[in-house]
Amino acid sequence: PLQKEHQCQFQMMESAYYHMPHPADSERVRHYLPRTPCQTPVYYHQT
């Protein structure tokens, strides 16, 4: 069983898990061609 301290840590991490870093958070703002990730069909080219 997790110790109390680790349970608190887990709660904080779990809440952060619901707003994970987005790739654009680490990139300069691109006004003209902003990055807009979206689910494309699996049969499209993925890389």
């Binding site: 994970m20 870093p21 790739p23 680490s26 990139e27 300069r28 691109r30 006004h31 003209y32 061609l33 990055r35 807009t36 990730p37 979206c38 494309t40 069909p41 049969y43 499209y44 080219h45 993925q46 890389t47």
Partner: protein, 179 residues
């Protein structure tokens, strides 16, 4: 034999659990590390295009900051005056460029939709774009397929190539829908 989890019986428990509940033993049996989106056989270093710990694919060229000469950067004073993106105005060449360099992005879908509207069709198995070749008629046509000579877009050599295809209509993508 050792009775607790520190002998062979303990290991056997994990092996048997893997059959019923793989999630329970994800640490003990591990996962396929070649399926984490990293090209582990790359002759080049991975870190310059590493997309980060949550990324399923490497960075695309446009995601990476390069220190370019200042004149290459869109100047502030004209930035807002630039015409907005309008795919209907672009030639096929640029549409294919946007499709192939924006994997996983809205732009890829938008380029696909525009190509569709220009009578290109995406073959979901061959993973190529195909269109009618002017002057080359269809040899055979039924309600489920057609056979004939068409153009397909060869992304490796970046040009349209003429080729005979047997087109099963169920393998051609319908009109792409934008979210």
């Amino acid at each position: 034999m050792v009775k607790d989890q520190f002998g062979m019986v303990g290991l056997l428990t994990f092996i048997r659990a893997a059959e019923t509940d793989p999630n329970l033993v994800s640490l003990a049996l591990g996962q396929d590390l070649t399926a984490l989106g990293l090209n582990l056989n790359s002759p080049d270093n991975l870190y310059p295009t590493f997309g980060g710990p949550w990324a399923e694919t490497p960075c695309r060229a446009q995601d990476i900051d390069f220190s370019v000469p200042p004149e290459y950067i869109i100047n502030h004073s004209i930035r807002d005056k630039l015409a907005q993106l309008k795919l209907t105005r672009y030639k096929e060449d640029l549409l294919f460029f946007m499709y192939y360099t924006n994997a996983g992005d809205l732009l890829q879908l938008a380029a696909a939709a525009e190509l569709y509207s220009r009578e290109w069709r995406y073959h979901m198995e061959e993973k190529v774009w195909i269109t009618q070749a002017p002057g080359c008629g269809v040899i055979e046509k039924t309600s489920t397929y057609e056979r004939g000579t068409y153009y397909f877009f060869d992304a490796q050599n970046w040009r349209k190539v003429i080729k005979e295809f047997y087109l099963d209509y169920s393998k051609l993508e319908n009109q792409p829908t934008l979210p």
